[in-house]
């Protein structure tokens, strides 16, 4: 099968070349995330851009929850190795990994005029291989009619969970960033500060024993979670549990939480806040493939995404933090994110993240849970 791939790729290349010769520019756009991200592109940003640039067409290939990201990277790497075009123009998602593998172009302000509006450290996080077009972080959601004094620090939160059994849960770390951020935050308890950066950007399996303290804490927490140790199935289920009053506190994504509040899925007595040290969050990046034949068009699109019009849609529809500096946004946006858009921390690197998922299942979910 693998031997046939080049043949298919060649055929596809020939086909796309003939189409290109006679029709508008088609940007093949690989994106990933939850349904709200898909809707943002499909229903809002891409049609808006196309209205202004009728000669540009998008071919959006969406990977739910990023499960296809590895396959996309593998495909780009294989195409590069074989010296052929991957057929991918725009990549949203794992730009750092793709960029470090030499698969993306580095974004520069001479190509993207609005790059100056972006926070320098957020740009540096992806080593300049993509523009951060929106951000969000995990925050703590709580039921204000049941919890009058929400915990403000991680320590206080852990203590609150132990004292209020059955009222907190988080989703399994592989199924969504909110539970993942909670596990990450707790595992960071045992990290030595000199290795913190390695955990976020590198990989060193020998360091994993620094997680022991965090896993111990999580294991002790488990009998006091919802239903005596039940984890929610994904980001959305935590929100549903909060909505029906089954739990009174849980980690949620800022954008999903705000959207749920706006749509009335979450009742008004659910409040969002950030704890100290903050849960991890991040920006989503948009990069341009190094082998793209439509680099100029793709970079033009990136510049547009950083503009007021697109950013306003992101803030409005996604309840995401804007990708540009908050000071570059109007006052009402600044007010909206007042209590939560503080700085956020960063999660583990993808390889450490994979190990974290595995060990969480082995050490936390996999250990016999007390039955009611």
């Amino acid at each position: 099968m693998k031997r046939l791939l080049p043949v298919f790729a060649l055929a596809a290349l020939g086909l796309s070349a003939t189409i290109l010769a006679q029709s508008p520019i088609k940007l093949s756009f690989y994106s990933s995330g939850d349904v709200n991200v898909k809707n943002l592109w499909e229903q809002n940003l891409l049609p808006m851009y196309q209205k202004k640039n009728p000669n540009v067409q998008f071919d959006l290939i969406f990977s739910q929850s990023g499960t296809g990201n590895q396959a996309t990277l593998d495909r780009m790497a294989a195409a590069k190795k074989a010296g052929q075009a991957s057929g991918i123009d725009l990549l949203e998602g794992p730009v750092l990994e793709a960029g470090e593998a030499g698969l993306l172009v580095a974004v520069k302000s001479k190509d993207i005029a609005r790059l100056s509006r972006v926070e320098a450290n957020v740009l540096a996080r992806a080593k300049g291989f993509g523009v951060p077009y929106r951000g969000s972080s995990v925050v703590l959601a709580y039921n204000s009619s049941k919890v009058s004094k929400p915990p403000k620090t991680l320590e206080a939160l852990l203590e609150w969970i132990q004292k209020n059994p059955g009222q907190f849960t988080y989703n399994t770390p592989d199924t969504g960033g909110s539970g993942n951020a909670f596990v990450t935050r707790v595992l960071k308890l045992g990290l030595e500060s000199k290795d913190a950066t390695t955990f976020e950007t590198g990989y060193e399996p020998a360091l994993i024993n620094q997680w022991d303290k965090g896993f111990d804490t999580l294991r002790k927490l488990s009998p006091n979670l919802y239903n005596g140790g039940q984890y929610s199935k994904n980001n959305a289920e935590t929100i549903q549990l909060l909505a029906k009053g089954a739990i009174n506190m849980g980690p949620v994504w800022s954008d999903q939480g705000l959207s749920a509040l706006k749509q009335g899925i979450l009742p008004e007595n659910i409040k969002l806040m950030q704890i100290n040290p903050p849960f991890s969050g991040g920006s989503s990046y948009l990069g341009v493939a190094a082998d793209s034949p439509n680099k100029l068009e793709a970079l033009k699109f990136l510049n547009w995404v950083l503009g007021e019009e697109a950013q306003a849609v992101i803030v409005d529809k996604m309840n995401g933090y804007p990708g540009v500096k908050i000071t570059a946004m109007p006052a009402d946006v600044r007010k909206k994110f007042g209590t939560i858009a503080k700085s956020f921390s960063f999660g583990f690197s993808s390889k450490f993240g994979a190990d974290m998922n595995r060990l969480w299942y082995e050490k936390i979910a996999g250990t016999p849970q007390p039955q009611r």
Partner: protein, 310 residues
């Protein structure tokens, strides 16, 4: 064709004609089955062999999905290290135990539910039997994901069943996200196939033989035990083996209805391959699953060939 020719050909030509004739048919047949065989080899056998080699430590450098995994066991001569690691892990053994338990219990319950339904479909008369015949087929036309959502809504926490039982004051503990939830899902999904298979087997048993038995004074139980069950044993074995293989390798039902841990092997494989970046472990689990299902498959082959002889 050559026989109808007006002039009789020489014996040598006739021999040649026969040879071409006898040669053409098998070739044509072979050509006809070639496309599915090629697909089978390219899309099933070749990847399966590659996966088997990978699980034995031969890491294909040109396959990034495999080569980029974490904790790879590399060996040039093949080793069982991956399987040793797998069986040493208590997480895997509890997953395997759960998978076996769920498979056996699901098959048993499926047969217990389906057999009476099949008997009713075969011997029932009147409107009620007609309704039953439609109802047992219903799950076949509902996609599994939708069905599991329906089961969650009905049996889950704060679901319909809890609300109904609550009105009469009966306490209820949800089976969703528990082992029992997986079994429930599999029985629901498996009923149409099982009943269809069993009742078509029962249809093949003539009314005369049953009437003859009744004339001899056999009661319903004796008729079932001495005539229906023995004559319908092959469909029963087919139902059991097919259901076992289906449940053992299932993904959607345990993913939707099962607990976070332990997990059925299908779910665990997907997690290992994706979220844990442990493709080698995932592939080794697939090999182990294949071995278990091969036993069930052998039982099926044995039962059908045995049926043909008798």
């Amino acid at each position: 064709m050559s026989q109808t020719a007006s002039s009789s050909p020489s014996p040598a030509a006739r021999k040649l004609g026969r040879l071409v004739h006898s040669w053409r048919e098998p070739v044509l047949g072979l050509l006809l089955v070639l496309p599915p065989i090629i697909v089978l080899i390219l899309l099933v056998l070749y990847p399966a062999l590659e996966a088997l080699r990978f699980s034995l430590g031969f890491v294909p450098a040109d396959n990034p999905a495999y080569a980029s995994g974490l904790d790879l066991v590399n060996s040039n001569s093949g080793s069982l290290e991956v399987f040793k690691k797998l069986f040493a892990s208590s997480f895997f053994s509890s997953n395997l135990a759960l998978t076996l338990r769920v498979s056996f219990v699901s098959v048993l319950l499926l047969v217990l539910v389906s057999y009476p339904l099949a008997l009713f479909a075969r011997f029932g008369r009147g409107k009620l039997a007609g309704v039953a015949r439609v109802l047992y087929l219903l799950p076949m036309f509902v996609p599994v994901v939708i069905a599991t959502y329906a089961l969650i809504t009905f049996f889950g926490d704060n679901g319909w069943l809890e609300a109904i039982l609550g009105t009469v004051g009966i306490p209820y503990h949800s089976v969703i996200r528990q082992e029992a939830g997986i079994v429930l899902g599999h029985v629901w999904v498996g009923v149409p196939f099982a009943v269809l298979m069993l009742s078509s087997g029962l249809d093949g048993i003539s009314n005369e033989s049953l009437e003859a038995a009744r004339d001899q004074g056999a009661n319903a139980w004796v008729v079932f035990w001495r005539i229906l069950l023995p004559l319908n044993v092959v469909p029963l074995l087919i139902v059991m083996t097919f259901s076992f293989i289906g449940v053992f390798g299932s993904y959607t039902v345990p993913y939707m209805l099962g607990p976070s841990a332990p997990q059925m092997l299908g779910v665990s494989m997907a997690l290992n391959f994706g979220a844990f970046r442990q493709p080698q472990q995932a592939v080794a689990m697939a090999v182990v699953s294949f071995v278990f299902c091969a036993f069930a498959g052998a039982l099926y082959v044995w039962s059908t060939t045995r049926g043909r002889k008798s």
